[in-house]
């Protein structure tokens, strides 16, 4: 699966989200690519799951990807739950 971590600039919180997601998929042995990007670029990229904050989640919804708003970019629980819920769909 392809996971996109999205923030305003593409090198702050999205990188932290990517670090968290990378830890989660390693621990749970999930096959996934995680990429960090900014909101401007994100709309033109394809992904299965988009992790972002509540502001950008609203803007990114409506495409093919499942969009999940994460409250704490460092929370493995939150990110893990988002990935598992996607896989269970």
């Amino acid at each position: 699966m392809k996971i996109l971590a999205v923030c305003g600039m593409g090198f702050g919180s999205s990188l932290m989200l990517k670090m968290t997601a990378d830890r989660v998929i390693k621990k749970k042995d999930i096959k996934a690519d995680v990429e960090a990007t900014d909101i401007g670029t994100a709309t033109s990229m394809s992904a299965d799951l988009i992790l972002t904050n509540s502001e950008f989640a609203k803007q990114l919804q409506g495409g093919n990807a499942t969009v999940v708003a994460i409250k704490n970019v460092a929370s493995e629980d939150e990110v893990g739950k988002a990935i598992e819920e996607y896989l269970e769909k």
Partner: protein
């Protein structure tokens, strides 16, 4: 050399608007020539334009802008607010800890993000940082335990 520098740490007592709080967190870096005022203005304008997306965890904001908006040297400042500031009417946007990030490119600050990520993942660490009574105490806690 560790990026941590106690000059870039401050506990602020008086209530501030989120704009003032971002200015204060940027001033610490600006006063030592790490960034220009333009960088602070851009951070504030980004939030006006895109919303409070810099609130990256409950109680924590990490303002930043692109390197080309006036960064001379990479840096990080840590400010805590005795009176939390509101980034919106949503209580989820109440912030007590501001980590102002100035990066010179897109990957030399990864270690820094990892460090901050470690704080966010641990409620006890956040409580410890936000609970520091004075700038001295916050400097001490950061130097001793978190960098």
């Amino acid at each position: 050399m560790s990026i941590f520098d106690e000059r870039f740490v401050q506990v602020i007592e008086q209530p501030l608007s989120w704009e003032q709080a971002l200015q204060a967190s940027g001033d610490l870096l600006k006063n030592y020539g790490k960034i220009e005022q333009e960088y602070i203005d851009t951070m504030i304008a980004n939030v006006h334009e895109l919303g409070p997306y810099i609130v990256i965890a409950p109680r924590v904001a990490m303002p930043h802008a692109r390197p080309e908006h006036g960064v001379h040297e990479k840096g990080i400042s840590v400010v805590t607010l005795k009176e939390p500031t509101q980034f919106s009417e949503d209580p989820a946007h109440t912030v007590s800890l501001i980590v102002c990030l100035a990066a010179v490119d897109s990957d030399s600050h990864l270690e820094l993000l990892q460090t901050v990520s470690g704080w966010l993942a641990d409620e006890d660490v956040l409580n410890d940082l936000i609970g520091a009574a004075s700038t001295d105490e916050l400097q001490h806690r950061l130097a001793e335990f978190y960098f």
